[in-house]
């Protein structure tokens, strides 16, 4: 049966073994929720024998995901963190797809860019840009929030972190989109187009690297200068440099972009919550992690078993691929009360899986939260209402959970 034929709105109309939650169309059509709910109830550690990406296991419950995250010895990240394998002749490498100890030293080479003291310095920069972007959106007429606000803001931020030529910043968005939308990951971008884009990215960044080698690393704190001067990263080969660039570009771009859009959408679906935060903007810091939980901008991370592993009576065999479905664990009713409700003042809002846990936990999680906090502080100062005028378009991907457009009309204060 083809992938499309197996796709129905009713997750109970097919047998358990035919369920394939990695089908990108499920996410593009927002149809995945029922399938995950069924798996959590009936088969929380689920084997899918046939998919676009070959056979794989799905882990769908919050605490099971945590168990696997905590055991990087038994569940390796080597070879990549998406279900689709990289082509033999074009393999990018980066620290999220590495195990200890190499992962640890490469990660540490760039961690400082998102260290708390650096974030404090970035805050006024982000705020002034958010202010400018929001001041320029039209009021009283329809426009696309994704392009005008979410993409613009995150791309400007990324350009700052890399100290990338500001006028060419839309290239960063383009490379980020190309990197994640390839056919090998179930997306629409043909492989030659994806490769050409990534090679262009490498070329531009290689020129920047050659320039940054001459910068004083004690004065410059952009990511490229950091990598070019750190003994653990300065000897990277081109595909490793490219891999780490893509990791930082996608990690710093796609995820926050889609959470910014998601927040607007959720507050439309839950107008009582919008009323609550409008009345009391001091709730924004609690609302932000709830937006990130509810959006879950990356639906899963992949691991590969390095040994046979027993969990809930199933045996994951050595060499098997395992998808930890954050998007499902974040709706696990055994851990999160009323998980399908968007509630901006939860008691323990940061207890969600969207950033992962363990040694691969998102390095930029505090930066992401800060960006969202600033955006919402500035939105609420300006707008009385942001009305979503039709259902958003969604990304054709089971990995990046995002929006292609979100048409809104805003009303000023």
């Amino acid at each position: 049966m083809s992938e499309a034929a197996k796709l129905t709105d009713d997750p109970y109309s097919i047998s358990l073994e035919d369920i394939n939650v990695s089908n990108p169309n499920l996410f593009m059509n927002d149809n995945h929720w029922g399938y995950f709910e069924r798996l959590r109830k009936e088969d929380p550690i689920h084997y899918c024998g046939e998919s676009l990406f070959g056979p794989f296991w799905s882990v769908t419950k919050f605490n099971d995901i945590m168990e696997i995250e905590k055991n990087p010895g038994a569940f390796s990240s080597e070879g990549g963190i998406t279900l689709g394998d990289q082509p033999e002749d074009f393999q990018t490498v980066n620290f999220i797809s590495m195990d200890s100890p190499k992962h640890d030293v490469q990660r540490k080479a760039v961690t400082n860019v998102v260290a708390p003291l650096n974030l404090a310095k970035l805050e006024p920069v982000i705020r002034s840009r958010a202010t400018k972007i929001l001041d320029e959106v039209p009021t009283g007429e329809e426009f696309d929030w994704v392009n005008h606000v979410s993409v613009e803001l995150t791309t400007q931020m990324l350009a700052t972190l890399f100290d990338f030529p500001f006028e060419k910043r839309s290239k960063l968005t383009y490379w980020s989109d190309m990197a994640t939308s390839g056919t090998l990951n179930g997306g629409p971008t043909p492989e030659p187009v994806r490769r050409a884009a990534l090679l262009e990215c490498l070329e531009v960044f290689t020129n920047l690297w050659n320039e940054r080698v001459h910068r004083d690393p004690t004065e410059a704190n952009d990511l490229i200068t950091m990598m070019a001067h750190n003994p653990n990263t300065q000897g990277m080969d081109p595909m490793e440099y490219l891999g780490n660039l893509i990791l930082l570009i996608v990690g710093g771009n796609d995820t926050t972009r889609n959470s910014i859009s998601g927040g607007v959408y959720f507050l439309n679906q839950f107008p009582d919550q919008f009323a609550k935060v409008t009345k009391d903007p001091s709730l924004i810091p609690k609302m932000v992690p709830e937006i990130i939980r509810y959006q879950t901008p990356l639906a899963y991370m992949r691991r590969r078993a390095t040994q046979d592993y027993e969990i809930r009576g199933k045996t994951i065999k050595k060499g098997d691929k395992v998808a930890m479905w954050y998007v499902s664990g974040n709706r696990d009713e055994e851990v999160i009360e009323n998980p399908n409700e968007f509630i901006i003042d939860r008691d323990n809002p940061r207890h969600h899986l969207s950033f992962g846990f363990g040694i691969h936990r998102c390095m930029g999680n505090r930066l992401a939260e800060m960006q969202l906090r600033i955006v919402w502080e500035e939105i609420l100062k300006r707008f009385k209402r942001i009305e979503v005028v039709r259902e958003p378009g969604r990304t054709q991907s089971s990995f990046v959970k995002g929006y292609t457009d979100l048409k809104v009309v805003v009303t000023g204060r």
Partner: protein
């Protein structure tokens, strides 16, 4: 009940009666001592309950295990005094322990 003295980065002290069997992290968060985030809820997998413990008290603690080591290792501000407070379980022999809170959690 054993006591814990938490000292915030700005010097503010909090003397808290702890329950035996509770972690230092739980002791802090359930008594609203600021400075500990504990995103993962005590699973030793986020490193946002980082605290500093002087050598005289470190000597009374169980040594850092592999999981705690791997999480602490990711923190650029790690020092010889660094511990994850979810991994320190209170008991009478830790009565009076002094816990210094870092300026930030990652």
């Amino acid at each position: 009940m054993p006591q814990v003295k938490f000292i915030e980065f700005n010097g503010t002290e909090h003397n808290i009666d702890a329950n035996n069997g509770d972690s230092i992290m739980v002791t802090a968060t359930s008594n609203l001592v600021p400075g500990i985030d504990a995103d993962c809820g005590g699973e030793c997998s986020c490193a946002t309950c980082h605290v500093l413990v002087g050598s005289e008290w470190q000597a009374k603690l169980k040594p850092v295990n592999d999981t705690e080591e791997s999480m602490l290792d990711l923190n650029p501000d790690r020092s010889a005094e660094s511990r994850l407070s979810c991994q320190i379980i209170m008991s009478d022999h830790l009565d009076g322990i002094v816990i210094n809170l870092p300026e930030f959690q990652y």
